[in-house]
């Protein structure tokens, strides 16, 4: 049904994966010419009206002088390095060539590559379109007269944000670095954590109009080959103009077309990414995006914060359970309030009934309208807080919340009991570590409120049943979303509601780390001095 709607309203035609969409454009090859003027002309035409592209013509110091030019996107390259390693080398170092090496039109390309340009990242290309592609990726192209091959040198030099603590996933204990918008920096932060050649980084380019690099990271031998293949397959299937953010990629490669639950985990934390890789999961890093995608994702991963792994096991378990309670509060409290105060008043203690009745006595709206009003107000405040500049945002949300809450109660629009409920719900929803998961909880909360208003507690049960059915049916890259609960794998429960001490985390999650299931030795536990250990 949704597909039909999509077809109608968005002009979406063709079958999925057939590549028949309009986004795919045929690309022919355009070989470079041996004539430097033709090449220059062609490149100038390609970069017509591109003010940031620099062309520099010069002559190589030879007998006779050889014409050449370099071209690059000025804003993407490090001019200093380009000057030092390319221009200086070509103009000055030619004199220092050994006597038996003669610079001619025919040998120039080889000599420049091997003896002159002192850069490690050096390629050649004989296709104009490829040269163009390299240039928009921040490479420098050197074209020498008489050769139909251009030298491509990497002198990247654009501005980057420094590594900062991730805003969306702060932690008290554990590393403070977060991903930035630069793919190489991001890869570096992971490499530094997983120092093995088995960590594979496969780059796939996505996008027809503008190629964006998507790095697929996994640890060979731990990650399931099936899942890795499926991930790559799904990414390659995408035919789209451009991938601006990993959020776009996420929606293209999800298992389910329509669901409120996030089927792919996002994180800004390199430590979390590294830990997931070690569990046998696959990480997708999109260039220019600080949000990394982790697949497969299961429901429980959205309730796990990176910090759980670093804190003491008992404390981490307590916090996990607390978070689970918070999840239920965030999802159910307003709905329960509506159901109990309008259908099941007998469930309240007499005194509480009395005080709620007192609080509500001046309120003109039914409990449901009251709840919806307050929840909407809260959502508005939250959205306003997010959209406004950081410094103003916090003040607005706090002051706005207090003022509106207080004033609404005093004006008799809502009852103070409702304010308590909304405040508690809000606080509880902030404890969910993953933002996308808290979005789905927010949406479901409203549906449950409506059901509670229509049918009371049975309505809530009905809603929860539907949610459960849906959750049971979901899969993330073939892995059941509710695992390890359904299907139950008892040994994987060690890192769900509870977090056992690390010396007891002997196996990897069964469903995606089964290739090399044993994570560590079984006798890793702490040993008191003089008691066993060592020799055994």
């Amino acid at each position: 049904m949704f597909k039909q709607l999509l077809k109608k309203f968005m002009g979406f035609g063709g079958k999925k994966g057939s590549g028949q969409g309009r986004a795919s454009q045929p690309q022919e090859k355009r070989p470079l010419s041996a004539n430097i003027d033709k090449n220059l002309q062609a490149l100038r035409e390609t970069f017509d009206l591109c003010g940031d592209v620099i062309f520099r013509e010069f002559k190589l110091n030879a007998e006779p002088p050889i014409r050449a030019f370099v071209t690059y996107v000025g804003t993407l390259c490090d001019e200093e390095r380009a000057g030092e390693h390319v221009m200086k080398a070509l103009m000055h170092e030619t004199t220092a060539l050994p006597a038996n090496v003669r610079l001619t039109q025919g040998s120039a390309l080889e000599i420049v590559q091997n003896r002159l340009v002192t850069l490690t990242e050096l390629n050649t290309s004989s296709d104009l379109l490829e040269v163009t592609k390299h240039m928009v990726n921040g490479k420098l192209a050197l074209v020498i007269d008489g050769s139909a091959t251009a030298i491509i040198a990497g002198v990247p030099g654009w501005e980057n944000r420094a590594i900062e603590e991730p805003d969306s996933e702060p932690s008290v204990r554990g590393p403070r670095d977060g991903f930035v918008e630069n793919l190489t920096t991001n890869l570096a932060t992971i490499r530094r954590r997983v120092k093995t050649s088995r960590l594979k980084v496969e780059n796939i380019e996505v996008g027809v109009l503008s190629k964006q690099t998507v790095s697929v990271l996994y640890i060979k031998g731990i990650a399931s080959d099936k899942i890795v293949a499926e991930v790559k397959e799904r990414i390659k299937r995408i035919k789209v103009d451009n991938i601006i953010d990993s959020g776009l990629l996420q929606e293209f490669i999800m298992d389910e077309e329509i669901t409120v639950f996030p089927l792919i985990q996002t994180t800004e934390r390199p430590d979390k990414t590294a830990a997931s890789l070690l569990e046998g999961r696959v990480a997708l890093i999109v260039d220019t995006t600080p949000m990394t995608l982790l697949v497969p994702a299961t429901f429980i991963t959205f309730l796990q914060a990176a910090e759980d792994s670093y804190n003491e096991a008992f404390y981490a378990t307590f916090i996990r359970l607390l978070r689970f309670v918070a999840l239920n509060i965030a999802l159910l409290l307003p709905a329960l309030y509506i159901a109990i105060t309008t259908y099941h008043q007998e469930m309240l203690p007499a005194k509480l009934l009395n005080s709620i009745a007192e609080a509500r006595s001046g309120v003109p709206f039914p409990a449901f309208v009251e709840a919806i009003l307050m929840e909407l107000t809260f959502e508005l405040l939250r959205e306003a807080g997010t959209r406004l500049p950081k410094n103003v945002g916090q003040a607005v949300s706090t002051v706005g919340g207090l003022v509106i809450g207080q004033a609404a109660v005093q004006a008799g629009v809502v009852s103070s009991a409702m304010v308590v409920v909304v405040a508690l719900t809000a606080v509880a929803s902030f404890t969910i570590p993953n933002i996308s998961a808290s979005f789905s909880i927010r949406i479901l909360r409203f549906s449950l409120m409506i059901l509670a208003a229509i049918m009371g507690a049975p309505g809530i049960m009905l809603g929860l049943m539907f949610i459960l059915f849906h959750l049971c049916g979901l899969r993330s890259f073939g892995v059941p979303y509710l695992s390890p609960f359904a299907p139950l794998s008892p040994s994987d429960l060690k890192d769900t509601f509870i977090r056992v001490p690390w010396w007891a985390m002997i196996t990897r999650p069964r469903l995606f780390g089964a290739k090399e299931p044993v994570r560590q030795e079984t006798d890793n536990g702490p040993v008191k001095p003089g008691e066993g250990g060592g020799s055994s």
């Binding site: 949704f2 309008t342 259908y343 007499a350 509500r360 001046g362 103070s416």
Partner: protein, 400 residues
């Protein structure tokens, strides 16, 4: 595709249910008249016998939440006053309806804590009252029941002394206090009706009575209610009352309490000692002889003797205390048994115990079980233990 369509259809159907009128049982909390106590009387109005139905209704204080002007500075709810409504009618239903004549709100019975039955209504039969559970779907079986020697209407007019509301006060007494201190039994609707229905036991209920407190005239409480004594039923009709001593005897005879505080006063010469019963158990043992059933009631108590200045507890006096207490308790229990025999109502549960343990003998016993109970010999054995002697480590040495 098919699945999506089905899901969407399901959601639409459920959503459209909400537009149906009439079958919503939704009620806003402030539209409820929360009944906390019910009083039921039989009265005669202009020569016609009628039911009188009295309800105490929770009255939430308005404006706690809204109307910023009169908001309480401390914010805490003040515990609203209660409203008393009454109505009369030829049937209980009519009386109940007339009670709600002046209340626009929905009568909500879930929070009824105690049903008070007037003496005349109790004497004429409580079976109709017992059916109250069927009459109101939101009625709780754990509601307490009490009988007053007078009119329930008067009891419900009492003021709370300690708590904010009368129902809390009576509920608190019925919950644990009255039975623990040995002044009245605790009886909820469920157990009461079980006893009315059972073929082998008569029902009992605490007596609720009113008093004009003299202690503090300034607090404006002109009448308070409390539990004292038991009402004994024969079948569904009130047979009579147990006085203070007999009630204590009843409680000790049926009881099984761990946290009692029942003082038994022992006198010898000019010495007065209080044996404080803290824990007691009683067992009934039916003895089936040749065509004759007798019962043996064993009561065992554990208690303490608080040091008093006129007795120093030592091994000798301890034995005396235990013997005297057993003697005293035996007397009290016997008085209760005698009274129930006199009222011809087996409320202590002798016959029930026979029914439970010896079905064969019960067959012969059953046809005239009340008579058989009255004729049966009942032997009472009491064993008292002093578990500790007082809370003062060493008595104060007062001079003579």
């Amino acid at each position: 595709m098919k699945r999506t369509r089905r899901v969407v259809a399901g959601v639409l159907i459920i959503f459209s249910l909400s537009f149906l009128q009439g079958c919503w049982s939704r009620k806003e909390i402030e539209d409820l008249a929360v009944v906390t106590m019910i009083g039921l009387d039989r009265i005669t109005e202009q020569g016609v016998d009628k039911w009188r139905y009295t309800a105490r209704i929770m009255q939430p204080k308005a404006g706690q939440g809204g109307q910023g002007g009169n908001q309480q500075s401390n914010g805490a709810p003040q515990g609203g006053k209660e409203l008393l409504l009454t109505g009369t009618g030829l049937t209980m239903q009519e009386a109940a309806r007339n009670t709600g004549l002046r209340s626009p709100r929905y009568i909500f019975m879930s929070f009824v804590s105690t049903i008070v039955v007037g003496e005349r209504a109790a004497r004429e039969g409580v079976s109709e009252i017992a059916e109250i559970r069927g009459r109101y779907r939101d009625f709780r079986p754990r509601t307490y029941i009490a009988v007053t020697n007078g009119e329930a209407f008067d009891v419900l007019q009492s003021c709370p002394e300690v708590s904010d509301t009368l129902y809390e006060e009576i509920e608190g007494l019925a919950d644990h206090k009255a039975e623990r201190i040995g002044v009245a039994c605790s009886m909820d609707w469920n157990y009461f009706v079980q006893n009315l229905l059972g073929p082998d036991r008569d029902a009992v209920a605490p007596r609720i009575t009113t008093v004009q407190p003299k202690e503090d005239p300034a607090n404006g409480v002109r009448q308070a209610a409390f539990l004292q004594g038991n009402a004994v039923f024969r079948g569904d009709k009130l047979a009579g009352w147990l006085n203070e001593e007999e009630t204590l005897g009843y409680i000790l005879a049926v009881g099984d309490l761990n946290n009692a505080i029942i003082p038994i006063t022992l006198v010898e010469g000019d010495k007065r000692v209080a044996y404080l019963v803290g824990r007691f158990r009683s067992t009934i043992e039916p003895v089936v002889g040749a065509g004759k059933v007798s019962f043996r009631l064993k009561v065992k108590t554990w208690g303490e003797v608080d040091e008093t200045h006129n007795i120093r507890v030592n091994d000798d006096s301890l034995q005396w205390v235990e013997a005297a207490a057993a003697d005293k308790i035996r007397g009290v229990v016997l008085k209760a048994i005698d009274k129930t025999k006199e009222l011809n109502a087996d409320v202590i549960g002798f016959s029930q115990e026979l029914h439970r343990t010896n079905l064969e003998a019960w067959g012969d016993y059953r046809p005239a079980w009340r008579d058989n109970f009255r004729k049966a010999e009942i032997e009472v054995e009491v064993e008292c233990k002093v578990t500790r002697t007082g809370r003062l480590g060493k008595g104060e040495a007062f001079k003579d």
